[in-house]
């Protein structure tokens, strides 16, 4: 549904998005993942025709955004929840948007109801909390009952309840067959929300795969085993060509899943006290993969060392 070909955006000397090509399919939540400053928002603005690409193009259902008739009926987007006039009421904000795309006025009350803002519809949007603003932004995105939905960092700054609500909401939209494209800089959040992952760093495509694949590729999967017969166990596992490392009173096994380890132990009549798969931290994995592409390195480790050096001596 969304197809980018060679999308590039330059601001003077800086390249925000570099030759990005991808396609986002319908009926799924596709996560758009990358560290801050990776070019996610710029890409989204180019999809919506707000920023002009330096070269390349992006099409929605085969059309350029500016060629869509009543675009809100095809693409709904929440790029920034604060893009609302603070003195204008929630209903008035949605009313002019509805009017501009020939959407019936009753739809305004419908979407306000969907996001649970009916009771504050006449209140000025300036007084809304971040969570309420986010809901208003989602209402605006849903206004035209669009096929394609874009959300830029929708859970940023929300409380756990709000995060859960948005996550469920996006799943519902995808289950209805819509194309949901949502950006985030948090892999842990995306792992719960998205079934497909588009990962970028420094404006370039790093990977495009299912979330599962990305996570399993990213995280090093090991199994921790404890047994009173450790030396024997180590021997048989190595013979079965597993990578084994000692960790105090346990073994950490790589390159073999827990099923296989259990079977080998049983075949050799070895007692096991623990057999637990270990998943590497997603954040660590993500940083490993996008590591070289982070725009602003903090050098926090070196700084910490310098700061601690005097006290250590």
């Amino acid at each position: 549904m969304i197809e980018a070909v060679g999308l590039t955006k330059r601001y003077g000397q800086t390249v925000a998005v570099n030759n990005l090509s991808f396609s986002v399919e319908g009926g799924k939540v596709t996560g758009f993942l990358g560290p801050n400053g990776a070019g996610k928002s710029t890409t989204m603005r180019m999809i919506l025709g707000l920023d002009n690409p330096t070269s390349g193009q992006v099409r929605i259902g085969g059309k350029l955004y500016r060629d869509l008739k009543d675009p809100l009926r095809t693409v709904g987007a929440l790029l920034d929840a604060k893009w609302v006039h603070p003195n204008r009421s929630a209903r008035a904000h949605l009313s002019w948007m509805a009017r501009s795309n020939n959407i019936p006025a009753r739809r305004v009350d419908e979407v306000l109801d969907v996001v649970g803002l009916s009771t504050v519809a006449k209140k000025s949007a300036g007084g809304f909390s971040l969570g309420m603003s986010q809901r208003l932004g989602i209402a605006a995105a849903l206004l035209g009952d669009p096929e394609v939905l874009l959300f830029d960092e929708p859970v940023n700054g929300l409380d756990p309840e709000g995060i859960l609500w948005i996550r469920k909401f996006m799943h519902r939209l995808a289950d209805e067959g819509r194309t949901v494209f949502v950006s985030s800089h948090l892999l842990s959040e995306m792992a719960l929300t998205a079934s497909q992952l588009l990962v970028i760093g420094k404006g370039q495509l790093i990977s495009h795969s299912s979330t599962e694949d990305f996570v399993s590729r990213a995280a090093e999967n090991t199994v921790k085993v404890r047994s009173p017969q450790l030396p024997l166990l180590r021997e048989v596992l190595i013979r079965a060509s597993a990578e084994v490392t000692d960790a105090d009173t346990a073994l950490v096994v790589a390159g073999m899943d827990s099923d296989k380890i259990g079977e080998i132990a049983a075949a050799n009549s070895i007692v096991l006290h623990e057999l637990s798969p270990q998943t590497g931290s997603l954040e660590q994995a993500f940083m490993q993969i996008t590591g070289d592409s982070v725009e602003y390195h903090t050098g926090i480790e070196t700084e910490a060392k310098h700061a601690l050096a005097p006290t250590a001596q």
Partner: protein, 250 residues
């Protein structure tokens, strides 16, 4: 028509246009009443004098018009607008039309209001609208307000920041034009062609000697051509603004 309705909803669902409209009316009518009320009975005031307040009213109208654009940039609703309607030219033209229309209505209310109030205060002066020039002087206030509003919308689109746009508009229309005529030799010749000076020529024509109020405009165009010149200036500025907005990232 849809776009006009959209811009109308946007304009009237915030507070600043209402305040600006009110202030414009108070200033335009108030100055007329002030002069009519304080001038000694021995001095006869004419129709042109009652419209003296338009100089200040037009400034407030330009604030209103510039704000209608710059607040949209300030709060990001311009992006939402371009997202809803990707044809930026039509959106901005519709905005200029709606704001211009509002300015026209305010100007007519202010122009006729000032004249009517002065007529009540000075029953002994001849303030009847007997000539075409006198009609222009009263009814033309709304027309000038509308054109000035379009200029301000264009400046708002080009500058995008409230403070910058308003400062430029006010300093230019209230001070710069008259200061230009102080430049030796060429100053007065340039001044004859500056838009707000030419606009004044349309409104007041060349009042006879002895009339109250500021000196007549030194523009050389006839009142009719002066109006065309002022309107043309606004349209060119608007076309430039739309061209820039189309190329720029929102």
């Amino acid at each position: 028509m849809t776009l006009l309705a959209v811009e109308r909803i946007k304009l009237f669902t915030t507070r600043s246009p209402w305040w600006c409209a009110l202030i414009t009316l108070v200033i335009t009518i108030g100055f007329g009443a002030l002069i009519a009320g304080t001038a000694p009975d021995s001095v006869a005031i004419d129709v042109g004098t009652t419209e003296f307040g338009y100089n200040f009213g037009i400034a407030v109208i330009m604030v209103l018009a510039a704000l209608s654009v710059t607040t949209e940039y300030r709060f990001g609703t311009m992006r939402t607008t371009f997202q809803a309607v990707p044809h930026r030219g039509s959106v901005l033209a519709a905005k200029a039309a709606v704001v211009g229309l509002l300015a026209l209505v305010i100007g007519e209310l202010g122009g006729f209001g000032a004249w009517a109030l002065a007529s009540v205060l000075r029953p002994n002066n001849d303030l009847g609208l007997n000539t075409a020039a006198e009609w222009t002087n009263v009814a033309g206030v709304g027309v000038l307000f509308a054109i000035a509003a379009i200029i301000a919308v264009a400046v708002g689109i080009l500058i995008r920041h409230s403070a910058g746009a308003i400062a430029l508009l006010l300093i230019y229309s209230l001070a710069v034009e008259s200061l230009v005529s102080l430049i030796p030799t060429v100053g007065p010749n340039i001044h004859k062609w500056l838009p707000f000076n030419v606009a004044d020529k349309f409104l007041r024509g060349s009042p006879g000697a002895g009339a109250d109020g500021p000196p007549p405009s030194d523009a050389v165009l006839s009142p009719g051509w002066a109006l065309a010149y002022f309107a043309g200036f606004a349209l060119v500025l608007m076309a430039v603004a739309i061209g820039v907005a189309k190329k720029r990232d929102a």
